[in-house]
Symmetry: C2
Subunit: 504 residues, 2 copies
Amino acid sequence: MSYADFEARMARINDVICAVNLLGWDARTMMPPGGIDARGHQVATLTDLARDLATGEDMRRAMDGARDELASAPGDDIRRRALARAEAEIGTLSRIPSRIVSEMAGLKTRAHAAWAEARAKNDFAGYAPLLDRMMAMQREISAAIGGGVHPYDPLIGMYEPGMNYQRLQTIYARLKSALVPLIERAAAAPQPRMDFLERPFPIAEQKAFGLKIAARMGYDLNRGRLDDTVHPFEISFTRDDVRITSRFRETWAPGGIFALWHEAGHGMYEQGVAPEFSRTIFATDIVNLYAVGGASFGMHESQSRLWENRVGRSRRFWALHFGDLRDRFPAQLADVTEEAFWRAVNAVRPGFIRVEADELTYDMHIILRSEIEAALMAGDLGVADLPAVWAEKMRDYLGLAVPSDTLGVLQDVHWSHGYVGSFPTYTIGNIMSSQLFAKAQESGAIATGLEAGDYAPLHGWLAENVYRHGRSSTPEETLHRVTGGGLDPAPYIADLTAKVEALT
Amino acid sequence: MSYADFEARMARINDVICAVNLLGWDARTMMPPGGIDARGHQVATLTDLARDLATGEDMRRAMDGARDELASAPGDDIRRRALARAEAEIGTLSRIPSRIVSEMAGLKTRAHAAWAEARAKNDFAGYAPLLDRMMAMQREISAAIGGGVHPYDPLIGMYEPGMNYQRLQTIYARLKSALVPLIERAAAAPQPRMDFLERPFPIAEQKAFGLKIAARMGYDLNRGRLDDTVHPFEISFTRDDVRITSRFRETWAPGGIFALWHEAGHGMYEQGVAPEFSRTIFATDIVNLYAVGGASFGMHESQSRLWENRVGRSRRFWALHFGDLRDRFPAQLADVTEEAFWRAVNAVRPGFIRVEADELTYDMHIILRSEIEAALMAGDLGVADLPAVWAEKMRDYLGLAVPSDTLGVLQDVHWSHGYVGSFPTYTIGNIMSSQLFAKAQESGAIATGLEAGDYAPLHGWLAENVYRHGRSSTPEETLHRVTGGGLDPAPYIADLTAKVEALT
């Protein structure tokens, strides 16, 4: 057994997981309603096969052989990095008992159905028993993976390698102290006009505008495609087939357009991973059995947020592109200036719904959820207490009185799908987006390009500094290489502060 | 190891093959161009896994255990049938050496590319060496599978269990003696008007009309969907997700509409397989590693041809539906009567292109190809002789002088894709379609329904007598059960004779 054997086995695992990704993409975009039960079996079987291939005896022997073969190779040999990464991820995957994996598969289905019903009926009690079981299993998974100081840590690490709750708490404290006054200041200022956003904007033209910009940003439609879904997402089946979705509504144009650029940001990252990493561990998340090239969930989110918010919600961006938009919608935007449009798509409005939150309030939703997850994992909080705790934090962080569990603790689908520990990556991504964008703008060519609507220099810089490395570097390594330091909320706070100053 | 274990393993194999089917459907309908190389790896890996799962030691032990468990069960126990079917198919699959499977995978890719180039350039010589290798491998596969009298037989049996070349020759002889004079008679008669078929028919309205009729026939869109492809096809991922495609051209309305009904006919068969056969050997073609519920390629084709030709090209059908069509295309069909339309979509015109052939000449294309395949497999014919033999048979059977290899031996993609032995199933399907349709019409309710455009009785009869049995019966068993006899061209010849009499 040799390194080549290890590589060949990893390539096959990637193939299987890419097929799982396709089964998922198809279920969300194309599949007729009747196909759902069979699709569940297909996903479960292929996921099991991928897990068996990764954790099986043949792979272990291949890795042993590869380790022997590379014993005298230099420590920074990319093959040694690949092998070490695979051993670590397979180790984590192996520590989660198959008993839990099996029970989790069934539980997710039932919990998701119960959650959807509970949300529709504002009936948290009907969902609580399944949520309770889900949280108990997440604690088991945490214990099985082990490591870390806080029981939340192993779960955070599944999505953001190297991160832990203690570091998060420091970051959250800084964000809260900076954001709460900014939110208050924005809320106290006169609200911008938003009426025109709700005029009818024919969807085909929204899409044409959004895609034209996405292509200018660098999203390659020869290796991608755009479809419609209720919940926008990006998914890849190697760097050469990276698909995005968005949700366009005729009476709320910015929703679909910004979601498209957000997903295109994810997509460009995947499309930019080095070709030689295709079908390797560096394009395969073994812990989550997911085909993905990005370094972590947080680094991925930094790339979507960078294009959506740092670029797409900037004053400069609309100075460049509002004319095109108004040409496409002359009647709808006849009485709107570029400045008014920019103000409208940056309006700060505390609300109950995370996925509709503006840039200022978004992280407060994440901090709330993350603190609750940590308390649940530590056993400091029971499921029965969730509605009250949720309402209390919404009042403290956003000044809102939660009117119902539907608009409160039942907001997000994540827990019912078995995701605990992924919420922090949204805020980590926001922070990284500003760190990377600040660094990028030190280049004169990038700054000049942004002034002229030429996004090729920025895309090229990201491709070179972030995209191509994919999972061959950890998110922290990537940040250090590019910025010279680790995760630092200062540039993000500075960006939001500047934005509020400009808006108010 | 028990029968339940065998069943569980077969279900997982079906899941994997369904995923392969989806990878294929997606590649032909949705995949961006850049994805093609990665998709090849994914299909190859999953196909290998399915093959390994089917032919591996664990499955053999499971089948041994199941056989012991069922030793005292009655001979007609459905579980014994399932086990016997699985053992037979896995036996066939196992006999094809993996060396051939591996070489074939690469050869198909190169042969297909060479074929496409040769066809574009009318350069048979550029393709001949790869075709020669392909035919040599097909002879190896035939020898490996074994059985049969003629070396063509094992290949025919992969697509039509129970069929052999000797039986085919008897059938071909009857067809030739009946069809050649009919074709001559039709060709000598005045040609119908066809000019109006080439008027512009907006595609959306063609689709709406075609789908409305397909739904009336019984195609269930809740468990299916229609997409556009250059080459129409049907594919399933269990009975609950059965997709069809068609190719609509604005200036040739009948092409897209009839192809839709053809594929819907395949689709209804798959949708109608008994639910308890889902994820069993009765919905899995192990020999071809293809997820399909129909009894054979021929029986499948009988279901598409029945709806396309026996129903869709009948005088009665257009008496019922031409009004709807003319309401949708009032300008295009203003000067057209229902009779003229029916005559136009039944025009007999010998041509070089099989996929555009009319009902009368279609089988001559099949007989020609099938005779050539048999001679190639027997070694009576070399690849270098193909252009001349093709031209000779086209002259004999259709009275046409082949002007180029592009319109001759390079017509069909099948050989480059590794299919030898599947052509006869098209003619077998035509024959079965008339046998089954004749039997169905003995029911008063069905005949009355057809007169009134109510296709539910016919669909219900097919569901009961054909669809639900799926692969639990061989095609011959199905025919015997329904018609009381085996494959018999008489009803098909009678249908075509009656049609020519009505048309001339």
